[in-house]
């Protein structure tokens, strides 16, 4: 589903991402962990086509992000770490905007909005301007907007930040549901317990370089993901 091959991105002198390679298969929840400034958000933004990269290749379903970004983006949904949405729109206005861009039919869109807004308890607030939303409400709206077009690949940067426990639980369930339907999820998090319970595979990045990746069992072995992460952080 998603192939990242030898991805390198430099900011001035600093290599934010250095020769990173990852493969994410359909049906997988892939966790991406690392310290602050390790290069997680840079990688995620490059994968979503927001950020241009210096070298390497990113393909989504075999389509190159460099050569055909629109086809790649059509298959992706991105949820950023900070949901800065259009504050001049209402919640429903934003969802319809995203639906229009992805060409989601009116019936299908309405059905999805009805379902997810009810699940995230956001229905009553959909007519409100986004400027009146709390951080958590914006995050919920960003999640609903991401699910509206049935993406094949969902990319999330710290998706649980700002969500209340109920919404957080719901999102975890939806992530698994989507993967069971054949989608793939690639997400970054600092909450290692969540990653350990939720992810099929995990990648650990430090100073832009991949230091460990594989199935959760392979990476953590008999110990916890937290222990592995801390040992790797100290060791290198």
């Amino acid at each position: 589903m998603l192939k990242i091959e030898h991805l390198t991105k430099t900011y001035g002198e600093k290599k934010a991402v250095d020769d990173l390679s990852l493969h994410i298969q359909p049906g997988e929840i892939y966790g991406f962990i690392g310290h602050n400034g390790a290069g997680k958000t840079t990688t995620i933004k490059a994968v979503c086509g927001i950020l241009r990269y210096d070298s390497g290749e990113i393909t989504v379903n075999g389509i190159s992000m460099k050569e055909n970004p629109l086809a790649c983006k059509s298959a992706i949904a991105y949820i950023p770490d900070n949901p800065d949405l259009y504050e001049f729109m209402t919640g429903i206005g934003y969802l319809n905007f995203v639906g229009d861009i992805f060409g989601v039919s009116a019936e299908k869109r309405q059905e999805k909005i009805r379902k997810y807004a009810a699940e995230f308890e956001l229905t009553a607030d959909l007519a409100q301007p986004i400027s009146a939303y709390s951080h958590g409400m914006k995050q919920k709206l960003a999640v609903i907007a991401a699910l509206i077009h049935d993406p094949k690949l969902i990319i999330m940067d710290e998706p649980f930040v700002g969500l209340d426990p109920k919404a957080s639980h719901l999102l975890k369930g939806l992530m698994r549901e989507k993967c069971d339907e054949g989608a793939a999820i690639f997400f970054s998090t600092h909450v290692l317990e969540v990653a350990e319970k939720l992810c099929d595979k995990v990648a650990i990045i430090k100073n832009g370089r991949l230091i460990k990746s594989g199935t959760m069992e392979d990476v953590k072995g008999d110990t916890s993901l937290e222990n592995v992460f801390l040992e790797l952080e100290d060791a290198q």
Binding site: I50, K73, D100, I101, D125
Partner: protein, 531 residues
């Protein structure tokens, strides 16, 4: 404790001198000095205007024995300006202060927090009030002989008067707070009120000399009105002449009014400060969805952004209102204007259609919607960049909005111009052709300028809209081009008829516009992708 609070409030009120919000850092010493000089120059400029008003009023009123009326009238003017400057500050300081929770969590009595907040409003009110009162006092001392008590009182009066400004600001600030929570189409209403205020301001300014004339023609009647309607100001005028009892009455009335407002405010402050006002909640009702195309959705998004921001509408879309107003004015007063122009350009009447085309272009230049449109994406840029839309589509939506909102009113104005001028068929075709090219060129110029100098890291949208080089270039660039083309005509008029000149200019404008459009779609799109 109270000293620390006052210090914090003053730092907050005058932070614009020391802190550059655009750059997000403290100004250098040179920067602070430069900024202070700039504002002093601005205050001096306004002061000179009020000085001239004061000079016109003071001498004749003082000679007629109405020196107190002069002082009272200038005081009223100072209060009007002080309240105008202070009311929005009051609203923000009292009702929207971001540190209320922080201060209320500390061991500070709410009344002291309120007092500190009001001190900031007082300072701003005083600042505005002094723009009128300093020149008023200078003129007063020049034309009226005052004793020691008079000098003392005239120096104290602005300080007491500012308490009245504070009282009125508090009341009006409360009204603004109430109204703002109940209005639904706040943005449109803000724009309409701003335009009404602007029109009112220009009307009053144009009528100022007539008002002064009326005052000077009938000082007795005006004095009687002031005495009965603005009683404290009557005593303020008398106090300026050294009347201690009047000073006492004036101070007591102002003090009493303030005490009442302060008592009411201090009782309700805690509730006001902690209440989550929010906005009138609209309940969501599911409606049938009408799907839009990608370009339709992007255009709609741009329109929503425009309509949601009074600052954007007022600074970059004034032409939308001005062009129809000019069209109506032309239909009503067109023949008078034509007569006046024919008189001015006797023997050169065939230049008038060129002037009309230039005038339409100048007003159309007041629409600069594309100029801040890239910067306005700000923190939301990731949305367009992560969605399956090309940079060309995103930029086309920005251009389309500018063109639609400019071409429609420009077409109305052009039609009215042609009804009044009745130009030849060729000129009748060339005028809209040239105007259309100019509008397209302006839209592309603004967009390219913004792509060259984008500012995506703003906290307040006044920065990309009002403090933007792209907007300056789009606005003044358009005017400069029109002036340059006007100058060029006078150089070419010996060998080019107005019709032929307009044809050449139209071709030239279309060539430039299309080159710029191509630039937007190629280089501009690449820049947008890399932002």
């Amino acid at each position: 404790m109270i000293r620390a609070l006052f210090k914090k409030q003053m730092m907050e009120v005058f932070s614009w001198i020391f802190y550059d919000r655009k750059a997000g850092k403290t100004r250098s010493k040179k920067g602070i000095i430069g900024y202070v000089i700039l504002y002093l120059a601005l205050f001096a400029f306004l002061g000179v205007i009020f000085f001239s008003f004061a000079t016109m009023l003071c001498e004749p009123l003082a000679e007629a024995g109405f020196a107190w009326l002069y002082f009272a009238l200038m005081g009223l003017l100072a209060v009007a300006l002080g309240v105008f400057g202070g009311v929005f500050n009051t609203f923000a300081s009292l009702y929207l202060a971001k540190d209320n929770d922080l201060l209320l969590s500390m061991p500070i009595p709410p009344a002291k927090i309120l007092a500190a907040r009001l001190s900031g409003v007082y300072a701003i009110g005083l600042l505005y009030e002094l723009i009128v009162m300093i020149p008023a006092l200078i003129v007063y001392f020049i034309h009226v002989r005052v004793g020691i008590l008079g000098i003392l009182f005239t120096l104290l009066i602005p300080l007491v008067l500012s308490v009245f400004v504070l009282t009125l600001s508090c009341i009006l600030g409360w009204v603004v707070a109430i109204v703002s929570t109940r209005l639904k189409n706040k943005n449109i209403i803000t724009v309409i009120l701003s335009l009404v205020f602007l029109a009112g301001y220009y009307y009053l300014y144009s009528q100022a000399y007539a008002v002064i004339g009326k005052i000077l023609a009938n000082p007795d009647g005006i004095a009687e009105s002031v005495r009965s309607i603005f009683y404290p100001f009557y005593h303020m005028g008398l106090a300026a002449g050294g009347n201690a009892l009047s000073m006492l009455i004036f101070t007591a009335i102002i003090g009493a009014l303030f005490c009442i407002v302060y008592l009411v405010l201090s009782k309700s402050f805690l509730r006001i400060a902690t209440e989550n006002r929010g906005t009138a909640k609209t309940k969501y009702k599911e409606k049938a969805v009408k799907s839009k195309s990608v370009s339709g959705a992007l255009l709609h998004k741009e329109l929503r952004r425009f309509l949601s921001s009074p600052i954007y509408m007022l600074n970059c879309g004034l032409g939308i209102i001005l062009m129809p107003i000019a069209a109506i004015a032309l239909l009503i007063k067109g023949n008078d204007l034509l007569e006046m122009l024919s008189g001015m350009f006797e023997g050169l009447e065939n230049v008038i259609p060129l002037l009309a085309a230039a005038a339409i272009c100048i007003i159309a230049s007041m629409n600069d919607l594309t100029a801040p449109s890239v910067s306005l994406e700000g923190k939301n840029l990731w949305i367009v960049q992560s969605l399956p839309v090309t940079a060309r589509q995103a930029l086309t939506a920005k251009l389309k909005l500018h063109l639609i909102l400019t071409i429609v009113p420009a077409a109305i104005l052009t039609l009215c111009v042609e009804i009044v001028l009745k130009p030849s068929v060729v000129l009748g075709i060339l005028i809209p052709v040239a105007v259309l090219a100019f509008i397209l060129m302006g839209a592309c110029l603004g967009l390219l300028a913004n792509l060259k100098m984008p500012n995506l890291k703003w906290a307040n949208e006044t920065v990309p809209v009002k403090q933007s080089m792209a907007v300056t270039i789009a606005l003044f660039g358009g005017w400069i081009i029109v002036l340059a083309l006007g100058g060029l005509y006078f150089l070419c008029r010996s060998f080019l008829s107005p019709t032929l000149y307009l044809l050449v200019v139209s071709v030239l404008l279309w060539v430039v516009a299309l080159v710029l459009l191509r630039r937007v779609m190629t280089k501009g799109a690449a820049v947008f992708e890399s932002l």
